[in-house]
């Protein structure tokens, strides 16, 4: 008992001394403008201290836990690149067996989620573990030097999908992960973007209410991999949403239950232009024009599929979602 009181103190103190509980502390080694660092902080902040985290190999692990330091204030374990979902399943089963209710998180990048860890993720969702899986989607293997993943958008440049005389960047479409996840009929699946912090918080809290698997894919710009200035991360992330290339949606038991409408959809070029990874699409090349049209068509398709075009000005749309105004409605 004395042991318990002793250990409760620091957390109680933390709660008093900080405006919010920080699961991920400042002082880690992430690059300037890292979307993932911001997203991970928002997720853990919203969840509070009663969580256990299984983390896939990747930037998040590397920049937060260079031994003998750690930026985590929550129990955290990194095992391998491809087994965060399975390790989290084991943690959840263990806590269930012990009669504990701490929430289990699994964190992965798009490589560990869309590709190499996909099988373990699918297994976890199918078995219905009470785990929130968060994918920090920066659309390539950033930790190893920017190679394409199945999340890399069509036509984007990476070191393994370089544009050249014969190719215009990545040749395949970004994997529609959220549809595949939703097809598991899990209680809750959503996309989010670091450009909308209160939306992330809302979705994390929604996921925490659920007894069962939940999945959130958070669009997280990588200034290094995308080739934009670090100070533009939030703006670039917002443009991805506003042009329709990264739709913000919620699905419950596979059915679409929420979208963030676009007040005035922007052309995809607004989003692509600030990023070096799409620079080859803005050269005087007929193929570039074709690819831009292709990307615009993909955005239009998303807008149609999810009905993103708001019919009237809406305080909850992509332009108003995170603005706070007196007497107004906040997104979350």
């Amino acid at each position: 008992m004395s042991d318990l009181a002793e250990t409760l103190m620091p957390i109680a103190e933390l709660r008093r001394n900080q405006p919010r509980f920080r699961g991920l502390e400042a002082g880690h080694l992430a690059c300037l403008g890292c979307g993932q660092a911001l997203a991970a902080r928002l997720v853990t902040e919203a969840a509070g201290p009663d969580v256990v985290v299984a983390n896939a190999t990747g930037c998040l692990e590397v920049f937060t836990t260079a031994w003998p330091q750690s930026a985590w204030r929550v129990p955290w374990l990194h095992s391998l690149f491809e087994n965060a979902a399975a390790v989290a399943s084991g943690m959840e089963a263990a806590l269930r067996a012990q009669g504990k209710s701490s929430k289990v998180f699994a964190f992965g990048g798009d490589g560990g989620t869309f590709d190499i860890g996909f099988q373990a993720l699918s297994g976890m969702l199918e078995r219905g573990h009470n785990v929130l899986y968060v994918c920090f989607d920066n659309e390539a293997y950033m930790n190893t030097g920017v190679q394409r993943s199945s999340s890399t958008p069509h036509a984007a440049m990476t070191t393994t999908s370089p544009p050249g005389k014969a190719r215009m960047g990545k040749r395949h479409l970004k994997k529609d992960i959220i549809s595949i996840i939703a097809a598991h009929n899990i209680p809750y699946a959503a996309t989010a973007s670091v450009a909308y912090p209160s939306d992330i918080r809302k979705k994390v809290r929604r996921a925490l209410e659920i007894d069962g698997p939940a999945f959130i894919n958070i669009h997280s710009p990588c200034p290094l991999g995308w080739g934009h200035d670090g100070s533009l991360s939030i703006e670039v992330a917002r443009l991805a949403v506003e042009c329709g290339l990264f739709p913000i949606i919620e699905l419950e038991r596979g059915a679409l239950t929420g979208t963030m409408p676009l007040r005035a959809p922007r052309p995809v070029t607004d989003y692509l232009k600030p990023q070096q990874r799409f620079a080859h699409l803005f050269q005087n090349d007929p193929r570039a024009k074709e690819e831009l049209e292709h990307l615009q068509a993909l955005a239009d398709h998303n807008i149609e599929t999810y009905g993103l075009r708001g019919e009237r000005p809406d305080p909850l749309d992509s332009a108003g979602a995170d603005t706070v105004r007196r007497g107004g409605v906040r997104w979350a």
């Binding site: 256990v52 836990t65 129990p75 084991g90 089963a93 263990a94 067996a97």
Partner: protein
Amino acid sequence: MLQALEGSQAIAQAVALCRPQVVAAYPITPQTHIVEGLARLIADGKLQCELVSVESEFSAASVALGAVAAGSRAYTASASQGILLMSEVLYNIAGLRVPLVMTCANRAVSAPLSIWNDQQDSMAVRDAGWIQLYCADNQEAVDTTVQAYRIAERTELPVMVCVDGFTLTHTLEPLEIPSQDQVDAFLPPFHFARTLDPLHPISSGTLVSPEYYTEARHAHHQALLRAKDEIVAADSDWAVLTGRVSGGLLEVDGPDDARVAILTLGSVFGTLLDAREEYPQLGSVKLIKLRAFRPFPIEALQQVCMGLSDVIVLERALSPGSGGIVGAEVRAALTELSAAPQVHNFAVGLGGRDVPLDIYPRLLAAIRSASPVRFAILDVELDKLTVEDR
């Protein structure tokens, strides 16, 4: 009370007596009956446990890892391709110093596909940093399973209990299942010092630079070396409780004055014991049962091999392009002796090939030649091969 039980069923009962809280496994022959047995016990309410039926061996090991890290006693079992599929996680479990127990129902590795027994699967992961204990019969499999939990939890090292597929797993033997009271007296409730607990947050499995990695590996190596004492202690304490010994690190059977010894792992030991009785005219021969392969009991092995003229290493793990895996290690250990015995290395019984009693006279005949047999596969029938493959 003796009861006739299939090896797998006996192992399942032994695991259940250890009160695991999480069992995660994927079916693979010849391991399946073990997990089926556990699933039956759980379904019947005889074992309170979370059974996580995963989508692959990779996840089986991962789930077990997560479960132990979160503070629960866990169990998994696999074989052959399954061991290889989970091999990355096996290294990880050991490196994270997670005290997990698993059964490896030893089976050959394809290609060509074989579901039958040899020991290349567990030998392929011998350097993962696990304790590896090999069982000669099903009574040992039961006793070693219980001991494994104590060894694992005291050393914070994972333990792989290796039992020969089919030869043991699918064979009925009269054996004694310990009582729950005996197991409870031997195995305290699981407490993992580095549990992931929101009240005491820790970070585990962090990035380690070259500045610290060497130290981590050194610590792991030392832990395995220290584990030798725990393996011996577990066996002798279990003997006090049940009257049964499994051999500690290794076991020797035979007259002290014997100049020849045959060393083996697993169920072939029983075959050799019978064979020695069958051929008493062939003189006195020691039989050495290597129970712990990791940590490798160098000192104990040197002790029992002192004064021998010949040691025959009979094993079921082939390292293609090199020879026998166990033979090479035994030879290396014995070269340190002043009058080192000659080491003869034979692979036998690969992919479930029968190991008959007359292996014994053949072995003893084979070492009568002038030079030691560095390595040979004993029972190859060359006429089954094309000329260029012979």
